[in-house]
Subunit: 874 residues, 2 copies
């Protein structure tokens, strides 16, 4: 096992072993891009350490060799009292986890070497500043002394001197600070700051490997579903300094705009600073274009590198650079994170530029990320009339409306406990705020730039974010902020427009997004590529219209029960449930009939002739009765029955396991009159549509079937009603009767069921519940533990369990097609909108997926990707 | 389609077409046994009528032909004013349904033919008695006039005349009765009694066919799970008369004793009576042996026929006969119903007699019937000390202890609603009482003989029955009886000894039965024949011992949770559940450990080295908390927690669908310390047993596994504990870790699971719930409708759903064996004791079935039958 690779030995294809940062440093070295030399300790070493509690025996020897090579390349030596080599020690896993793991800069400094640096640079301020930063970082990261302890002393020093900025502290001030910092370390960590550079290096490597398993890194991997990695690599690299004076600086840049996708060089930098200053968002940096004036040579070189790297990687790059006394060094390049809008625009434009193919463009976009484009924006009209309270950097687009909260934990709790919608407001964010950012609708910070922690993380999450909003003053401890001169308390509602970077006090209405421009173009390509149809689950004409706008090709699931909760229908429904006999039940159903008919007519109209699958009543009847003590009396009096009669009925309908109870087709068998009424409403509505000259083939779906005899029984009822009505109308009209496959037995006996069913729709929500024996309502008690103990890789209610549930789906497809070759097959569970499940559906040979309206574009893209991947693997 | 067969045309193998009665009348005719001639209208006609609402066109012609053949054979003519033929019209399906369908005797009588009968018999009383019986039966059965209306007039006539018995009415009285009966018919039915014999015949045939679908026939078929029949046949047969004077009579006899099985001629008869008098139980008949004195010739002939028929049919026969003026006629023979004890004894003795083979003996006994032999008898010692309150006929053996109830509907309700145990006490029973007989522990009647309705039905149900108990006077309407001079109110407890025919006031303790004698011999043969092992589901040493006595070869399922409900353990369990953290949870578990250890030691001891499978904790924790408002306060104070804390915990544990919730292996994953404690208790107990020099291989079973990773996780916990303890003890001891297959996903991924599981036990209760999506606790809301609408043939919780659930079982067997060839496979759901399911298990290749202790002998026999049938079909 080779533990260490020099940058000159690796390449971008070695990410698994060298981590993303290490592999790309090696690649840039190979390309001749200026990179300070260094080496990478592999992820296998991290893995070895985690498994064995010690390093491989060969590591020390390899480290010595690599270090002396580096010393030779630089002509400097670690700890040398005359010409000391300083290095950075950085983490870097195969998948980028920004800010989650640790970094140490300026390693190699001690009381002796700092003097050598002073001698060589003639810049005592720089030397002492580097030294105090090193102690501070090393104390925090390696020795576990809280960052705030150092900051407090720094703050004190500035106060004493009466200045505001670090930069105003001189060499002497900083020298004194190093002494104070070392004292803090000794007091807090119980041991001295280590002066020996080799010991510093060993401890730093330990700490970086250790940071793989710190809490926030684990949380980040969990949130981002990052699994299967060996660990982090450690990169040891010769230091270059952006804080050597006003001809030095450091910055972050993107080959294209990561927020909009525009093909324009984009980034920001700080003069006389180290990288951490940019990322931490403490000083607000300058836009990259200003560099052209300040250091035109370096800028030109950077522009050239931008072009070379993007062509080489064939994707938008996110780069870090440092300019040391006018000379440019690249410290990192990686494929840049981007908003969904940017991802789409970049992919489409790169196709137009001939850089990538359409297939590559389609495969490059994470379908789930499109979700960002499908959520509301602030209503332009309402926005125009509202007063802008403050403006900041448009760090992540979209809209957020919610209660302002100034603490991440609190934000999390308010969402969890009160189901509140919140906007997290912080002076600046740090990885500790992740939990609150995750819970919030959007994020607003007072400091930091477009590449600050808040901005990067929010873009990754697809959440709206405004960063560096200097018009606000936040009193986090006191729980309020002053925004545009107005005091905003915790809980007051504010609205963010992340696309424009504008903040409003109060709630501004939002509007639905559409598919056009680059997005529309990409979706067009997706439609050409995919084989699966994409339908939607919609119960109302409104949902149906939204889904149509997003490209739905029909309704795969209309849940009729939702229609019974609206307005006074619920009371008629209750009247039906409480009816003592069939005739009075029928009287109540007769009242519901015209309402249902109108509902269906509305849906048929909205879908303009596209197929519409309507499921007959599914939930157990007790769901329609009141549950709260207080409501029972009211409902009883509304219905004109005694409280005791109502209670008695409720008691008789009570179920131990309602999921497995008296619902679905079982209702239609015990109360065929309900199925009759619904069939009548569907057919009458279809006949109405037909009268208007439009064609419609209603698909009537019987839920929860487990045996063909159940389906046959209800089908007979439905067909009798339908055929009679169609006969009376004297027209020809086709309709279909099919079933959900959601009970395991239905999949097992799908051959028999197909003899009666003209279509199958896989109800994978219930099929998952029954196949796994997980009640979705109760699985929260153990699922988190299952995920954290890695007993399950994914929540099976989100991503289809292909091994178990998928086996039943495949079995049913095969048996169903064998028994009825033309049978139409789809899926209408939540999984119909989840990319990995959609890929499964493609492979299983389904005809379509059906998902919620906002998932339709995601499904279209995921279906295209499935088809492309299948083609590629042939 | 041939609709009618003369008796001389059929044979006993044509039961499906001719019904049991018709086929056997034909067979006897062929054998030369004296049978009055006649013919059978086939069951296909019944089926045709039910499907088409009319008879086949050819029926009328065939009926005319058959009737004229019969007239020729008898030398008489239907309706002939000089020499009229009288016929009986009787139902008879392929499977006997005693008393469920209708019969009409003496058909052909009217005001003219009755005079011819008087002239030919010179017995006006006989003629008028026959006529009034015919009108009464015809009125009741064909024209729908309630039986009671006729009885009331008959009663009045007797009162007027001051006599007690029908026999005391003379010809004139009876003539007057016929007139009154005809008037009632006209008044009640709205039309005249039909005088024309051909019309009488057509109407009677209609009524008998119609009786196939009367309510009690449907109920009977449902209770006895009789399906797949075409309908009833109709037998038209020349009348012979047992009521022609004192040289005439009628009776019912069995070739062996149907109650005990003793090889002795058995039966009873009434002189000067028609068949209905014996069956209805109105007069108490004489034992058959008395016939030898009264009519020695007929008796000798009957003995001869007894022998011929039993040899011919190779089984015990139940025969009906009539003696007309000294001449014997056989009216029916069929394989006789018998108690389980009789069935066993007859089968074993017939093998000993060389009449049948051992295999035949085994196949001849319905395994479920053995249940009768496995239930308690009255304790002989307690019985000896108790006072016999009354004695009757020992109509069906066994014991019954319960509240006396005098109304069938009420008996049913008390059992359903109050879970009461009741004894149904009636003057006599009729088919309307079926619902109450089904609900009761036992039946006591004041009138009727060993072949009365009560006796026959009770024996069929395997229920204890005492019939013809003349020492009691029952006031059904007033709700009490006088029993041995003592008044017994409804709800007072009485005890029946059906084996001896004795009634006791109060509850007499019962004792467990054993397997010995004929039963033991049969079980020995079963054990030789079967391939499946038979284990038991037992949680206590007591249950384990009972099962051992019944032949269990191990414990297939010990449910450890039952142990946590006993005594003060429930409080420790609750302490564990309410524990705020792992250490306090462990403290509570430490208290449970020695108790569990003792439990397991007791089980191991009781099973004497046979295998014992112990399932780790399965139910959700909320099952251990109080449910009633009243208990919460008490429990809180016992546990020293606040009511609100207890409530909060209860709320946090509440589940929407507990069946699919936080239970089984999921508990062991979230609280591994529970599994640790149980593993420790099991292994410590096994080590204790080993110290005593006995061998034991404990089998530790993890419930509710759906993914191999769940099993692997808990197996690791269990093995760590077990290996440590065994290591400490310094001995060698084997133990096994396996899993339930009860989640559909477990069956689907059984190959993977078998890589960790050393055995599978199919938990078909839960597997049925999840595969069908039926909550067992809630299915009562729709299952009855499913069964009555024939959507399901059987309750899937009683008989394994072979098509659905069975498919998963077969899949798991195949995948499991492929992955681990030696894997041990069993079933521990309720189905393990149900014969059709046991046959399935045999075919699926399981190693054993496990069932409740009282089902063990049933399983042994069913397993033997499965093996024999499989051998036969090879």
């Amino acid at each position: 096992m080779k533990s260490i690779y020099l940058f000159s030995e690796g390449s971008k294809d070695m990410k698994g072993l060298l981590g993303g940062k290490g592999a790309n440093l090696a690649e840039m070295t190979k390309l001749g891009v200026p990179v300070p030399p260094g080496f990478t300790i592999t992820t296998e070493v991290c893995d070895y350490y985690n498994k064995n509690g010690r390093y491989p025996n060969t590591l020390e020897g390899e480290l010595n060799t690599a270090l002396s090579t580096l010393e030779k390349q630089m002509g400097m030596k670690l700890g040398d009292p005359e010409n000391p080599l300083l290095v950075s020690v950085r983490s870097g896993a195969a998948i980028s986890m920004p800010g989650m793991m640790d970094t140490i800069l300026n390693l190699g400094l001690n009381d002796t070497t700092v003097e050598a640096v002073i001698r060589r640079t003639s810049n005592p301020r720089f030397a002492w500043d580097s030294y105090r930063r090193f102690i501070q970082m090393f104390g925090d990261v390696v020795m576990g002394v809280p960052h705030s302890k150092f900051e407090a002393i720094l703050h004190e020093a500035k106060e004493t001197k009466g200045v505001s900025y670090d930069i105003e502290l001189d060499a002497d001030d900083l020298r004194e600070l190093t002494a104070s910092f070392k004292e803090i370390i000794e007091r807090e960590a119980g041991r001295e700051f280590p002066a020996e550079p080799r010991e510093q290096l060993r401890m730093a490597i330990d700490a970086v490997f250790g940071s793989w398993n710190n809490e926030r890194a684990i949380l980040y991997r969990k949130l981002n579903n990052i699994t299967g990695l060996k660990g982090t690599a450690v990169n040891v690299q010769a230091m270059v300094f952006g804080n050597m004076g006003n001809d030095s600086g450091t910055g972050v840049c993107f080959t294209r705009n990561p927020s909009t996708g525009e093909n324009a060089f984009y980034g920001e930098y700080l003069m006389n600073a180290q990288g951490e200053d940019v990322v931490a968002g403490i000083r607000t940096p300058q836009p990259i274009s200003s560099l052209e004036k300040q250091l035109p040579g370096a800028y030109k070189q950077l522009l050239d590198i931008r072009e070379r790297l993007e062509k080489h990687y064939r994707d938008m790059q996110d780069m870090e650079f440092t300019i040391q006394k006018g000379k440019l060094y690249m410290l990192q390049t990686r494929t840049g994170k981007r908003t969904a809008a940017a991802a789409v625009r970049i992919a489409v434009e790169m196709v137009d530029e001939g850089l990538i193919t359409k297939d590559e463009a389609l495969l490059r976009i994470d379908p789930l990320q499109l979700d960002q484009l499908l959520h509301p924006q602030l209503d332009p009209i309402a926005k125009a009339e509202a007063k802008v309270a403050a403006a900041g950097l448009p760090a992540s687009p979209g809209a957020a409306v919610g209660e302002a909260v100034f603490d991440a934990q609190k934000a999390h709790e308010m969402v969890e406990r009160d189901k509140a919608k919140v906007v997290l407001v912080r002076t600046e964010t740090s990885p500790e705020d992740l939990i609150g950012m995750n819970a919030a609708e959007g994020i607003l910070t007072a400091r930091g730039g477009m590449t600050s922690h808040a901005a990067v993380v929010a873009r990754g999450m697809g959440k709206c974010c405004i960063a560096g909003c200097q018009d606000i003053t936040i009193k986090e401890d006191e729980g309020y902020m002053v925004l545009g001169g107005q005091r905003v308390e915790e809980g007051d509602v504010i609205s963010l427009d992340g696309t424009e970077g504008k903040v409003y006090i109060g709630a501004i209405p939002t509007v639905e997004p559409g598919i056009s421009g680059y997005f529309g173009k990409l979706m067009g390509w997706a439609d050409e590529a995919r084989k699966l149809g994409v339908r939607t689950n919609a119960d109302t004409p409104h949902d149906a219209k939204v889904a149509r706008k997003f490209g739905a090709e029909g309704i795969g699931l209309c849940r009729t029960e939702h229609m019974f909760f609206e307005g006074d229908r619920i009371n008629i429904m209750r009247e039906m449930i409480l009816a003592p006999d069939r005739p009075s039940r029928k009287r109540a159903l007769d009242k519901l009939l015209p309402m249902q008919q109108e509902d269906f007519k509305g849906l048929f109209d909205a879908m303009e002739g596209l197929p519409v699958t309507i499921r007959l009543l599914d939930p157990p009847l007790h769901e329609f009765l009141p549950h709260e003590e207080a409501d029972i009396k009211e409902v009883a009096s509304q219905l004109g029955v005694s409280v005791s009669a109502l209670r008695e009925k409720m008691e008789s309908l009570r179920e131990v396991n309602p999921m497995l109870g008296h619902r679905g087709v079982r209702l239609a068998i015990t109360y065929p009159e309900i199925a009759e009424m619904q069939a009548e409403a569907i057919i009458r509505a279809a006949l109405d549509v037909k009268k208007e000259g439009k064609e419609i083939v209603p698909e009537i779906m019987i839920p929860l079937v487990g045996d063909v005899k159940e389906l046959a029984y209800v089908k007979k009822v439905v067909c009798r009603v339908a055929d009679e009505l169609i006969g009376e109308a004297g027209v020809k009209m086709r309709y279909m009767v099919g079933t959900m496959i959601e009970v395991p037995r239905a999949a097992l006996t799908a051959g028999e069921i197909a003899s009666e069913a003209e279509f199958f729709s896989f109800g994978t929500n219930d099929l998952t519940q029954m196949t796994l024996g997980f009640s979705r309502d109760d699985a929260g008690k153990f699922l988190p533990e299952y995920l954290s103990k890695r007993i399950l890789d994914k929540d099976p209610f989100q991503a289809l369990d292909q091994e178990g549930v998928g086996q039943l789906v495949k079995m049913a497809v095969e048996k169903g097609r064998k028994a009825r070759p033309g049978i139409h097959l789809g899926i209408c569970g939540e999984h119909g909108g989840e990319p990995s499940s959609i890929e499964f559906c493609h492979k299983a040979g389904l005809d379509y997926v059906s998902c919620s309206p906002y998932r339709v574009p995601i499904a279209r893209l995921a279906a295209a990707q499935a088809a492309l991947r299948a083609k590629a693997s042939q």
